[in-house]
Symmetry: C2
């Protein structure tokens, strides 16, 4: 399977660290030192998970060599839904009036994008789809509490749309060589490390230290596991595309893997943690940098916990 095209939408507003001092008492420099975040993206009053996703898909549609209505599978990935009945995937089908398509929206927290790739892999295998859109869209600021001194200042908003095809459609398609996901809710604080309970205060991070430790551990180990399985090693990797939760996690993972930080795509400094959209967004932002034949690896970790890795060859 191949990434045929990838596009994104990022809301215009950037909220600086200094904005939080009056909200939760955190200091500009303290936030930066702890997280690597300088600003974060914030959706407008009239935006939500679905409207951002539609804009990302409009950008995708403009890049496609065929009509977006040829798509036969739409997977929405989000843990910050606008609507859980008229879901993200339904909103895309409705907006573009795509008939004859399957729709489902998923969450496996911040690992959802890689889980979605794996679900697409399954649909292609059972011959029920050939051209899929995966949309990762997060509206964190709909569920965050800016007064929370632990997690209030971490979150950004963004959407990414990816056209995945079973067959190679163009010379520039990126081959998805292998995908690995794991549920990790049996580990450490598991499903209590980060929570988003819509009726109980939204996003909280009760066990930040445990999340940090396990994110570093599994984002490194799962990369090694998938490379081993494919008889590859870290020297084969041109770019690491990590989940963007914290620059300290990203640097620690790079160090564990012995991969130079110049080879790591980062957007957390400007955008904050944009959830499951963060790593495909980093790919989309850097797509023009990638040369034919280069190898990339996604490594993501979700707060539930769950992990995912995928090897791509340009």
């Amino acid at each position: 399977m191949y990434i045929n095209k990838i596009s994104h939408y990022i809301p215009k507003e950037r909220v600086p660290n200094s904005w939080f001092f009056n909200k939760n008492g955190t200091d500009e420099e303290w936030i930066f030192q702890r997280t690597g975040i300088k600003t974060r993206s914030k959706a407008g009053e009239d935006e939500n998970t679905n409207t951002m996703a539609i804009k990302a898909c409009e950008n995708l549609s403009a890049n496609l060599d065929f009509s977006i209505t040829e798509v036969d599978l739409i997977i929405g990935a989000t843990y910050s839904p606008f609507d859980t009945v008229g879901t993200l995937a339904h909103a895309i089908q409705n907006h573009f009036k795509i008939s004859n398509t399957k729709v489902v929206s998923i969450s496996s927290a911040c690992s959802s994008f890689v889980n979605a790739l794996e679900i697409v892999e399954g649909y292609f295998a059972i011959k029920k789809a050939k051209k899929a859109i995966v949309i990762a869209s997060e509206h964190n600021t709909a569920y965050y509490n800016p007064k929370d001194p632990i997690a209030g200042h971490l979150w950004g908003d963004a959407a990414v749309a990816v056209l995945i095809s079973k067959e190679k459609l163009s010379e520039n398609d990126i081959y998805i060589k292998d995908i690995l996901t794991y549920g990790l809710a049996n580990i450490g604080e598991g499903n209590k490390g980060v929570v988003l309970q819509p009726n109980k205060g939204g996003i909280k991070m009760p066990h930040g230290q445990d999340v940090y430790i396990n994110a570093v551990k599994y984002m490194s180990e799962l990369v090694k596991e998938l490379l081993d399985k494919n008889n590859m090693n870290i020297h084969d990797i041109d770019y690491l595309i990590p989940h963007q939760a914290n620059i300290r996690i990203i640097k620690k993972v790079a160090k564990e893997l012995k991969i130079s930080t110049e080879k790591v795509f980062v957007n957390i400094n400007e955008l904050g943690n944009t959830g499951c959209a963060s790593s495909p967004l980093a790919l989309s932002q850097n797509i023009s940098k990638i040369k034919k034949g280069e190898t990339l690896i996604f490594s993501v970790f979700g707060g539930g916990y769950s992990g995912g890795v995928a090897i791509l060859i340009a």
Copy 2:
């Protein structure tokens, strides 16, 4: 693929129609005539989507001929999540300490259970799983507005857990012969027919008439489409297991399909609309009635819109 075991959990409380008179002015008999509902199940104060799912899985675990920790895929199906980060699937993995399993939670509204079966089909095909749990759990009363005279009185709470295996594990396994899903958000009022916006008032049904018309149309047509594809016809069906949104929809679908209402599993009268849990729950409640060799068909419709059908052979 096969249904090896199925178990459920229904909260004890039953709320009678008369309870709503002081809430939204609807009359006991009027509700019954319009919906077929006499009472609906309601979760307790300390229950939620995840706790109900755990109870359904404890019942499932007690019925299994092997340890629940052998499961290698957990799919949570819900549009009424307790936690979108530590999701339904993560909660099951955490509670039963199941290692080496994939976890993801999904919503395609009330059709989610059949969508989940199709995702399992994909995981089995790519050889990444052999034994899956699908849990459909809905905590509608966490998101409903009992004062809403249009939709306040419709909803019930329940959870169902199903062990799906790639290979036949016992003589009593039910064969899943074929599965069909469609996104239908491009039809009629699409993703605005029923909505559940956690930050905008929860569950509402702005376009009930459009939902009714399209539910009847697609719950009938998709059955015919899947039977045709399998060179079967309605006379081959021993039991219809419809989504339980409204008895008038169920009766109209039975009439369209020319299937006797005695052949239709119904639980809406006692439990209300238990969302994507409603049809697998009807199967679980009637499992002892089914004879070896009998054929059953699921037909579901989700408010987003989306539809799903699956043929089972006992």
